[in-house]
Point group: C2
Chain length 227, copies 2
Protein backbone atom coordinates (compact mmCIF):
# COMPACT_ATOMS: atom_id res chain seq x y z
CA UNK A 1 0.00 0.00 0.00
CA UNK A 2 1.22 3.51 -0.87
CA UNK A 3 1.54 5.49 2.36
CA UNK A 4 4.02 8.24 1.45
CA UNK A 5 3.36 11.29 -0.65
CA UNK A 6 6.89 10.90 -1.99
CA UNK A 7 6.01 7.58 -3.57
CA UNK A 8 6.57 7.96 -7.34
CA UNK A 9 3.27 6.21 -8.21
CA UNK A 10 1.37 8.61 -5.96
CA UNK A 11 3.16 11.58 -7.51
CA UNK A 12 2.44 10.32 -11.04
CA UNK A 13 -1.32 10.18 -10.36
CA UNK A 14 -1.26 13.56 -8.61
CA UNK A 15 0.59 15.12 -11.56
CA UNK A 16 -1.90 13.61 -14.03
CA UNK A 17 -4.80 15.17 -12.08
CA UNK A 18 -3.11 18.57 -12.05
CA UNK A 19 -1.68 18.65 -15.53
CA UNK A 20 -3.81 16.17 -17.55
CA UNK A 21 -1.16 16.12 -20.27
CA UNK A 22 -0.18 12.69 -21.66
CA UNK A 23 -1.79 10.91 -18.73
CA UNK A 24 -5.26 11.59 -17.34
CA UNK A 25 -7.35 10.36 -14.45
CA UNK A 26 -10.90 9.11 -13.98
CA UNK A 27 -12.64 8.72 -10.62
CA UNK A 28 -15.13 6.07 -9.63
CA UNK A 29 -15.38 2.33 -10.30
CA UNK A 30 -18.05 2.67 -13.00
CA UNK A 31 -16.21 5.43 -14.90
CA UNK A 32 -12.96 3.43 -14.78
CA UNK A 33 -14.62 0.19 -15.92
CA UNK A 34 -16.51 1.96 -18.71
CA UNK A 35 -13.28 3.59 -19.91
CA UNK A 36 -11.46 0.25 -20.10
CA UNK A 37 -14.45 -1.22 -21.96
CA UNK A 38 -14.31 1.74 -24.38
CA UNK A 39 -10.69 0.97 -25.22
CA UNK A 40 -8.93 3.56 -23.05
CA UNK A 41 -5.50 2.29 -22.00
CA UNK A 42 -5.17 1.99 -18.20
CA UNK A 43 -1.74 2.56 -16.69
CA UNK A 44 -2.76 1.91 -13.12
CA UNK A 45 -6.02 1.53 -11.19
CA UNK A 46 -5.85 2.17 -7.44
CA UNK A 47 -8.38 1.64 -4.67
CA UNK A 48 -8.68 3.58 -1.46
CA UNK A 49 -7.39 1.71 1.58
CA UNK A 50 -6.14 -1.15 -0.65
CA UNK A 51 -3.48 0.32 -2.94
CA UNK A 52 -3.31 3.81 -1.43
CA UNK A 53 -3.82 4.76 2.22
CA UNK A 54 -7.13 6.50 2.82
CA UNK A 55 -5.36 9.68 3.91
CA UNK A 56 -3.34 9.92 0.69
CA UNK A 57 -6.27 8.82 -1.48
CA UNK A 58 -8.40 11.65 -0.12
CA UNK A 59 -5.70 14.12 -1.17
CA UNK A 60 -6.13 12.88 -4.75
CA UNK A 61 -9.92 12.63 -4.93
CA UNK A 62 -11.34 15.63 -6.70
CA UNK A 63 -14.98 15.35 -5.66
CA UNK A 64 -16.35 15.97 -2.21
CA UNK A 65 -17.62 12.40 -1.91
CA UNK A 66 -14.58 10.38 -2.96
CA UNK A 67 -15.36 7.38 -5.12
CA UNK A 68 -12.73 4.96 -3.71
CA UNK A 69 -11.33 4.10 -7.15
CA UNK A 70 -9.02 6.15 -9.35
CA UNK A 71 -7.78 5.10 -12.78
CA UNK A 72 -4.70 6.54 -14.45
CA UNK A 73 -4.99 6.34 -18.25
CA UNK A 74 -3.08 7.25 -21.35
CA UNK A 75 -4.70 10.33 -22.85
CA UNK A 76 -6.88 9.24 -25.79
CA UNK A 77 -5.75 10.87 -29.04
CA UNK A 78 -8.07 11.71 -31.90
CA UNK A 79 -7.20 13.68 -35.01
CA UNK A 80 -9.07 16.64 -36.43
CA UNK A 81 -8.72 15.33 -39.99
CA UNK A 82 -10.49 12.08 -39.05
CA UNK A 83 -13.34 13.99 -37.37
CA UNK A 84 -13.65 16.44 -40.28
CA UNK A 85 -14.00 13.50 -42.68
CA UNK A 86 -17.22 12.33 -40.94
CA UNK A 87 -19.84 14.32 -42.83
CA UNK A 88 -23.03 12.30 -42.34
CA UNK A 89 -23.73 14.36 -39.23
CA UNK A 90 -22.43 17.66 -37.84
CA UNK A 91 -19.18 18.56 -36.13
CA UNK A 92 -18.80 20.83 -33.10
CA UNK A 93 -15.90 23.29 -32.86
CA UNK A 94 -15.27 25.29 -29.68
CA UNK A 95 -13.42 28.59 -29.93
CA UNK A 96 -11.76 29.56 -26.64
CA UNK A 97 -14.55 28.13 -24.49
CA UNK A 98 -12.79 28.59 -21.17
CA UNK A 99 -15.06 26.99 -18.61
CA UNK A 100 -14.35 23.25 -18.27
CA UNK A 101 -17.98 22.73 -17.20
CA UNK A 102 -19.14 24.19 -20.51
CA UNK A 103 -16.67 22.06 -22.49
CA UNK A 104 -17.78 18.89 -20.70
CA UNK A 105 -21.49 19.75 -21.07
CA UNK A 106 -21.00 20.30 -24.81
CA UNK A 107 -19.17 16.94 -25.12
CA UNK A 108 -22.26 15.39 -23.49
CA UNK A 109 -24.51 17.22 -25.97
CA UNK A 110 -22.34 16.08 -28.89
CA UNK A 111 -22.91 12.46 -27.78
CA UNK A 112 -26.63 13.02 -27.18
CA UNK A 113 -27.15 14.48 -30.62
CA UNK A 114 -24.72 12.25 -32.53
CA UNK A 115 -22.19 14.86 -33.56
CA UNK A 116 -19.14 13.42 -35.30
CA UNK A 117 -16.81 14.90 -32.72
CA UNK A 118 -15.69 17.97 -30.82
CA UNK A 119 -12.81 20.11 -32.11
CA UNK A 120 -11.05 22.41 -29.67
CA UNK A 121 -9.57 25.63 -31.02
CA UNK A 122 -6.81 27.36 -29.03
CA UNK A 123 -7.87 28.80 -25.68
CA UNK A 124 -10.37 26.09 -24.75
CA UNK A 125 -10.41 24.33 -21.40
CA UNK A 126 -9.07 20.79 -21.67
CA UNK A 127 -11.87 18.29 -22.30
CA UNK A 128 -9.81 15.69 -20.37
CA UNK A 129 -9.42 17.73 -17.16
CA UNK A 130 -11.32 16.50 -14.07
CA UNK A 131 -14.11 19.13 -14.19
CA UNK A 132 -14.78 18.69 -17.90
CA UNK A 133 -14.79 14.90 -17.59
CA UNK A 134 -17.26 15.14 -14.72
CA UNK A 135 -19.53 17.51 -16.67
CA UNK A 136 -19.50 15.13 -19.65
CA UNK A 137 -21.03 12.39 -17.43
CA UNK A 138 -19.34 9.57 -19.33
CA UNK A 139 -19.81 11.05 -22.80
CA UNK A 140 -16.07 11.79 -23.06
CA UNK A 141 -15.69 8.03 -23.61
CA UNK A 142 -17.65 7.94 -26.85
CA UNK A 143 -17.08 11.31 -28.52
CA UNK A 144 -13.82 11.91 -30.43
CA UNK A 145 -12.20 15.13 -29.20
CA UNK A 146 -9.21 16.71 -30.95
CA UNK A 147 -7.34 19.98 -31.17
CA UNK A 148 -7.78 22.01 -34.33
CA UNK A 149 -6.53 25.32 -35.71
CA UNK A 150 -8.65 28.05 -37.25
CA UNK A 151 -6.75 27.47 -40.51
CA UNK A 152 -7.74 23.76 -40.57
CA UNK A 153 -11.40 24.73 -40.08
CA UNK A 154 -11.28 27.42 -42.76
CA UNK A 155 -9.74 24.95 -45.23
CA UNK A 156 -11.82 21.88 -44.38
CA UNK A 157 -14.38 22.31 -47.16
CA UNK A 158 -17.39 22.16 -44.84
CA UNK A 159 -19.69 25.12 -44.23
CA UNK A 160 -19.12 26.72 -40.84
CA UNK A 161 -22.12 27.98 -38.82
CA UNK A 162 -21.98 30.23 -35.78
CA UNK A 163 -24.79 31.19 -33.42
CA UNK A 164 -25.27 34.93 -33.96
CA UNK A 165 -28.27 37.05 -33.02
CA UNK A 166 -27.78 39.00 -36.28
CA UNK A 167 -28.15 35.90 -38.43
CA UNK A 168 -31.13 34.28 -40.10
CA UNK A 169 -33.75 32.46 -38.01
CA UNK A 170 -33.53 29.22 -39.99
CA UNK A 171 -33.29 25.57 -39.10
CA UNK A 172 -29.69 24.47 -38.60
CA UNK A 173 -28.18 21.96 -41.07
CA UNK A 174 -28.30 18.29 -40.14
CA UNK A 175 -25.05 17.17 -41.87
CA UNK A 176 -21.99 18.45 -43.80
CA UNK A 177 -21.50 21.29 -41.34
CA UNK A 178 -19.35 22.56 -38.49
CA UNK A 179 -21.10 24.45 -35.66
CA UNK A 180 -18.66 26.90 -34.09
CA UNK A 181 -19.41 28.01 -30.51
CA UNK A 182 -17.40 30.86 -29.05
CA UNK A 183 -15.87 32.17 -25.86
CA UNK A 184 -18.21 32.87 -22.93
CA UNK A 185 -17.59 36.61 -23.10
CA UNK A 186 -16.22 37.44 -26.54
CA UNK A 187 -18.06 34.89 -28.70
CA UNK A 188 -16.52 33.46 -31.86
CA UNK A 189 -13.24 35.07 -32.95
CA UNK A 190 -13.44 37.53 -35.85
CA UNK A 191 -11.59 35.36 -38.35
CA UNK A 192 -14.02 32.44 -37.94
CA UNK A 193 -17.10 34.64 -37.50
CA UNK A 194 -16.39 36.28 -40.88
CA UNK A 195 -16.17 32.89 -42.57
CA UNK A 196 -19.23 31.39 -40.85
CA UNK A 197 -22.90 31.49 -41.76
CA UNK A 198 -24.61 33.32 -38.86
CA UNK A 199 -27.62 31.46 -37.51
CA UNK A 200 -29.94 33.07 -34.99
CA UNK A 201 -31.78 31.28 -32.19
CA UNK A 202 -35.25 32.89 -31.95
CA UNK A 203 -35.60 34.52 -28.53
CA UNK A 204 -37.12 37.46 -26.69
CA UNK A 205 -35.40 40.80 -26.29
CA UNK A 206 -35.15 40.25 -22.52
CA UNK A 207 -31.63 38.85 -22.77
CA UNK A 208 -28.71 39.75 -25.01
CA UNK A 209 -27.37 36.25 -25.41
CA UNK A 210 -27.46 32.68 -24.15
CA UNK A 211 -24.89 30.63 -22.30
CA UNK A 212 -22.68 28.81 -24.83
CA UNK A 213 -23.84 25.38 -23.64
CA UNK A 214 -27.50 26.48 -23.95
CA UNK A 215 -26.89 27.60 -27.55
CA UNK A 216 -25.20 24.28 -28.30
CA UNK A 217 -28.10 22.35 -26.73
CA UNK A 218 -30.67 24.15 -28.87
CA UNK A 219 -28.83 23.98 -32.21
CA UNK A 220 -27.55 20.41 -31.83
CA UNK A 221 -30.95 19.14 -30.67
CA UNK A 222 -32.73 20.82 -33.56
CA UNK A 223 -30.14 19.54 -36.06
CA UNK A 224 -30.58 15.99 -34.71
CA UNK A 225 -34.37 16.15 -34.94
CA UNK A 226 -34.10 17.10 -38.63
CA UNK A 227 -31.74 14.23 -39.47
CA UNK B 1 -14.68 55.07 4.78
CA UNK B 2 -15.24 51.66 6.42
CA UNK B 3 -11.89 50.30 7.54
CA UNK B 4 -12.83 47.80 10.26
CA UNK B 5 -14.33 44.39 9.79
CA UNK B 6 -16.30 45.01 12.97
CA UNK B 7 -18.16 47.89 11.33
CA UNK B 8 -21.89 46.97 11.35
CA UNK B 9 -22.41 48.13 7.75
CA UNK B 10 -19.56 45.88 6.63
CA UNK B 11 -20.97 42.96 8.61
CA UNK B 12 -24.44 43.52 7.16
CA UNK B 13 -23.15 43.25 3.57
CA UNK B 14 -20.99 40.25 4.44
CA UNK B 15 -23.98 38.50 6.03
CA UNK B 16 -26.17 39.23 3.00
CA UNK B 17 -23.54 37.64 0.72
CA UNK B 18 -23.34 34.54 2.91
CA UNK B 19 -26.98 34.10 3.78
CA UNK B 20 -28.90 35.91 0.99
CA UNK B 21 -32.02 35.87 3.15
CA UNK B 22 -34.01 39.14 3.35
CA UNK B 23 -31.13 41.14 1.94
CA UNK B 24 -29.07 40.22 -1.12
CA UNK B 25 -26.06 41.61 -2.91
CA UNK B 26 -25.16 42.43 -6.50
CA UNK B 27 -21.63 43.12 -7.73
CA UNK B 28 -20.60 45.52 -10.45
CA UNK B 29 -21.71 49.04 -11.38
CA UNK B 30 -23.83 47.90 -14.35
CA UNK B 31 -25.63 45.16 -12.41
CA UNK B 32 -26.36 47.56 -9.54
CA UNK B 33 -27.62 50.33 -11.85
CA UNK B 34 -29.76 47.89 -13.84
CA UNK B 35 -31.28 46.55 -10.61
CA UNK B 36 -32.22 50.04 -9.41
CA UNK B 37 -33.73 50.76 -12.84
CA UNK B 38 -35.71 47.51 -12.59
CA UNK B 39 -37.24 48.61 -9.30
CA UNK B 40 -35.09 46.67 -6.84
CA UNK B 41 -34.83 48.55 -3.55
CA UNK B 42 -31.25 49.49 -2.70
CA UNK B 43 -30.29 49.65 0.96
CA UNK B 44 -26.72 50.71 0.40
CA UNK B 45 -24.32 50.95 -2.53
CA UNK B 46 -20.62 50.95 -1.70
CA UNK B 47 -17.56 51.56 -3.82
CA UNK B 48 -14.10 50.15 -3.30
CA UNK B 49 -11.62 52.64 -1.89
CA UNK B 50 -14.39 55.24 -1.48
CA UNK B 51 -16.89 53.80 1.00
CA UNK B 52 -14.96 50.67 1.98
CA UNK B 53 -11.19 50.26 2.19
CA UNK B 54 -9.78 48.21 -0.67
CA UNK B 55 -8.61 45.53 1.74
CA UNK B 56 -12.05 45.03 3.26
CA UNK B 57 -13.82 45.37 -0.10
CA UNK B 58 -11.74 42.52 -1.53
CA UNK B 59 -12.90 40.31 1.35
CA UNK B 60 -16.49 40.90 0.18
CA UNK B 61 -16.05 40.60 -3.58
CA UNK B 62 -17.11 37.18 -4.79
CA UNK B 63 -15.51 37.15 -8.22
CA UNK B 64 -11.81 36.89 -8.97
CA UNK B 65 -11.79 40.26 -10.69
CA UNK B 66 -13.61 42.47 -8.20
CA UNK B 67 -16.00 44.93 -9.76
CA UNK B 68 -15.40 47.88 -7.38
CA UNK B 69 -19.12 48.36 -6.69
CA UNK B 70 -21.37 46.32 -4.43
CA UNK B 71 -25.08 46.97 -3.92
CA UNK B 72 -27.05 45.72 -0.94
CA UNK B 73 -30.73 45.25 -1.83
CA UNK B 74 -33.96 44.12 -0.28
CA UNK B 75 -34.71 40.67 -1.60
CA UNK B 76 -37.35 40.95 -4.36
CA UNK B 77 -40.50 39.03 -3.48
CA UNK B 78 -42.75 37.42 -6.06
CA UNK B 79 -45.67 35.10 -5.35
CA UNK B 80 -46.32 31.73 -6.90
CA UNK B 81 -50.03 32.49 -7.32
CA UNK B 82 -49.24 35.58 -9.42
CA UNK B 83 -46.87 33.59 -11.64
CA UNK B 84 -49.31 30.70 -11.99
CA UNK B 85 -52.00 33.14 -13.17
CA UNK B 86 -49.91 34.13 -16.21
CA UNK B 87 -51.03 31.56 -18.75
CA UNK B 88 -50.26 33.17 -22.12
CA UNK B 89 -46.85 31.54 -22.00
CA UNK B 90 -45.26 28.72 -20.00
CA UNK B 91 -44.03 28.55 -16.42
CA UNK B 92 -40.84 26.86 -15.23
CA UNK B 93 -40.77 24.89 -11.97
CA UNK B 94 -37.51 23.53 -10.56
CA UNK B 95 -37.62 20.52 -8.27
CA UNK B 96 -34.55 20.30 -6.01
CA UNK B 97 -32.17 21.68 -8.63
CA UNK B 98 -29.18 21.99 -6.34
CA UNK B 99 -26.51 23.66 -8.43
CA UNK B 100 -26.80 27.46 -8.28
CA UNK B 101 -25.20 27.66 -11.73
CA UNK B 102 -28.04 25.53 -13.14
CA UNK B 103 -30.69 27.64 -11.36
CA UNK B 104 -29.18 30.87 -12.69
CA UNK B 105 -28.78 29.47 -16.21
CA UNK B 106 -32.44 28.41 -16.22
CA UNK B 107 -33.53 31.88 -15.02
CA UNK B 108 -31.61 33.25 -18.04
CA UNK B 109 -33.40 30.75 -20.32
CA UNK B 110 -36.76 31.71 -18.81
CA UNK B 111 -36.07 35.33 -19.78
CA UNK B 112 -34.76 34.39 -23.23
CA UNK B 113 -37.84 32.34 -24.04
CA UNK B 114 -40.43 34.54 -22.30
CA UNK B 115 -41.51 32.17 -19.57
CA UNK B 116 -43.94 33.72 -17.07
CA UNK B 117 -41.61 33.01 -14.17
CA UNK B 118 -39.55 30.44 -12.31
CA UNK B 119 -41.00 28.54 -9.35
CA UNK B 120 -38.61 26.91 -6.90
CA UNK B 121 -39.74 23.74 -5.13
CA UNK B 122 -38.03 22.74 -1.89
CA UNK B 123 -34.39 21.73 -2.18
CA UNK B 124 -33.43 24.19 -4.92
CA UNK B 125 -30.40 26.43 -4.73
CA UNK B 126 -31.37 30.05 -4.03
CA UNK B 127 -31.84 32.01 -7.26
CA UNK B 128 -30.67 35.12 -5.37
CA UNK B 129 -27.33 33.70 -4.20
CA UNK B 130 -24.16 35.14 -5.76
CA UNK B 131 -23.42 32.19 -8.09
CA UNK B 132 -26.99 31.92 -9.38
CA UNK B 133 -27.20 35.67 -9.94
CA UNK B 134 -23.93 35.57 -11.87
CA UNK B 135 -25.13 32.63 -14.01
CA UNK B 136 -28.36 34.49 -14.80
CA UNK B 137 -26.30 37.31 -16.40
CA UNK B 138 -28.84 39.98 -15.48
CA UNK B 139 -31.94 37.93 -16.23
CA UNK B 140 -32.74 37.66 -12.51
CA UNK B 141 -33.85 41.31 -12.82
CA UNK B 142 -36.68 40.60 -15.23
CA UNK B 143 -37.97 37.15 -14.38
CA UNK B 144 -40.29 36.68 -11.40
CA UNK B 145 -38.95 33.96 -9.11
CA UNK B 146 -40.96 32.54 -6.20
CA UNK B 147 -41.04 29.55 -3.89
CA UNK B 148 -43.78 27.00 -4.47
CA UNK B 149 -44.89 23.71 -2.94
CA UNK B 150 -45.65 20.49 -4.80
CA UNK B 151 -49.22 20.83 -3.54
CA UNK B 152 -49.63 24.28 -5.10
CA UNK B 153 -48.39 22.93 -8.44
CA UNK B 154 -50.66 19.88 -8.30
CA UNK B 155 -53.66 22.11 -7.55
CA UNK B 156 -52.90 24.97 -9.96
CA UNK B 157 -55.11 23.75 -12.80
CA UNK B 158 -52.35 23.87 -15.40
CA UNK B 159 -50.95 20.77 -17.10
CA UNK B 160 -47.52 19.83 -15.78
CA UNK B 161 -44.88 18.51 -18.19
CA UNK B 162 -41.62 16.81 -17.26
CA UNK B 163 -38.71 15.88 -19.51
CA UNK B 164 -38.64 12.07 -19.46
CA UNK B 165 -36.91 9.73 -21.92
CA UNK B 166 -39.92 7.40 -21.63
CA UNK B 167 -42.39 10.04 -22.77
CA UNK B 168 -43.73 10.95 -26.19
CA UNK B 169 -41.48 12.69 -28.74
CA UNK B 170 -43.89 15.58 -29.32
CA UNK B 171 -43.53 19.33 -29.53
CA UNK B 172 -43.82 20.97 -26.12
CA UNK B 173 -46.81 23.23 -25.41
CA UNK B 174 -46.40 26.95 -25.97
CA UNK B 175 -48.79 28.17 -23.24
CA UNK B 176 -51.04 27.03 -20.37
CA UNK B 177 -48.34 24.74 -19.03
CA UNK B 178 -45.76 24.24 -16.31
CA UNK B 179 -42.44 22.61 -17.29
CA UNK B 180 -40.98 20.80 -14.28
CA UNK B 181 -37.23 20.18 -14.30
CA UNK B 182 -35.76 17.88 -11.66
CA UNK B 183 -32.74 17.33 -9.50
CA UNK B 184 -29.38 16.79 -11.24
CA UNK B 185 -29.15 13.19 -10.07
CA UNK B 186 -32.62 12.02 -9.12
CA UNK B 187 -34.77 13.91 -11.63
CA UNK B 188 -38.30 15.03 -10.83
CA UNK B 189 -39.70 13.70 -7.54
CA UNK B 190 -42.16 10.80 -7.77
CA UNK B 191 -45.21 12.78 -6.69
CA UNK B 192 -44.80 15.38 -9.45
CA UNK B 193 -43.54 12.88 -12.05
CA UNK B 194 -46.74 10.83 -11.60
CA UNK B 195 -48.88 13.91 -12.19
CA UNK B 196 -46.89 15.25 -15.14
CA UNK B 197 -47.11 14.50 -18.86
CA UNK B 198 -43.76 12.96 -19.80
CA UNK B 199 -42.18 14.59 -22.83
CA UNK B 200 -39.10 13.10 -24.47
CA UNK B 201 -36.30 15.03 -26.13
CA UNK B 202 -35.26 13.05 -29.22
CA UNK B 203 -31.66 11.95 -28.77
CA UNK B 204 -29.20 9.16 -29.52
CA UNK B 205 -28.63 6.15 -27.25
CA UNK B 206 -25.07 7.33 -26.54
CA UNK B 207 -26.12 9.16 -23.34
CA UNK B 208 -28.69 8.32 -20.69
CA UNK B 209 -29.78 11.86 -20.02
CA UNK B 210 -29.02 15.53 -20.48
CA UNK B 211 -27.92 18.17 -18.01
CA UNK B 212 -31.03 19.86 -16.53
CA UNK B 213 -30.13 23.25 -18.03
CA UNK B 214 -29.65 21.63 -21.46
CA UNK B 215 -33.12 20.04 -21.22
CA UNK B 216 -34.58 23.39 -20.21
CA UNK B 217 -32.83 25.15 -23.11
CA UNK B 218 -34.21 22.69 -25.66
CA UNK B 219 -37.81 22.58 -24.39
CA UNK B 220 -38.14 26.30 -23.66
CA UNK B 221 -36.60 27.27 -27.00
CA UNK B 222 -38.90 24.92 -28.89
CA UNK B 223 -41.93 26.14 -26.95
CA UNK B 224 -41.03 29.76 -27.74
CA UNK B 225 -40.58 29.05 -31.45
CA UNK B 226 -44.12 27.58 -31.61
CA UNK B 227 -45.71 30.59 -29.90
Amino acid sequence: MITSRHNPRFKRIRDAIREHADEIVLEGPKAVADAVASGWKPIEIVERDVDVSSELFDLLADTKSPQHTIGLFERPRAHATAILARRATVIVALDAVQDPGNVGTIVRLAAAFDAAGVLLLPGCADAFGPKAIRASVGAILNVPVAAVTARELLDCGLTLYAADAGGACVDPPSRDAVFVFGNEGAGVSDELARAAQPIAIPMSARVESLNVASSAAILLSRSFSLR
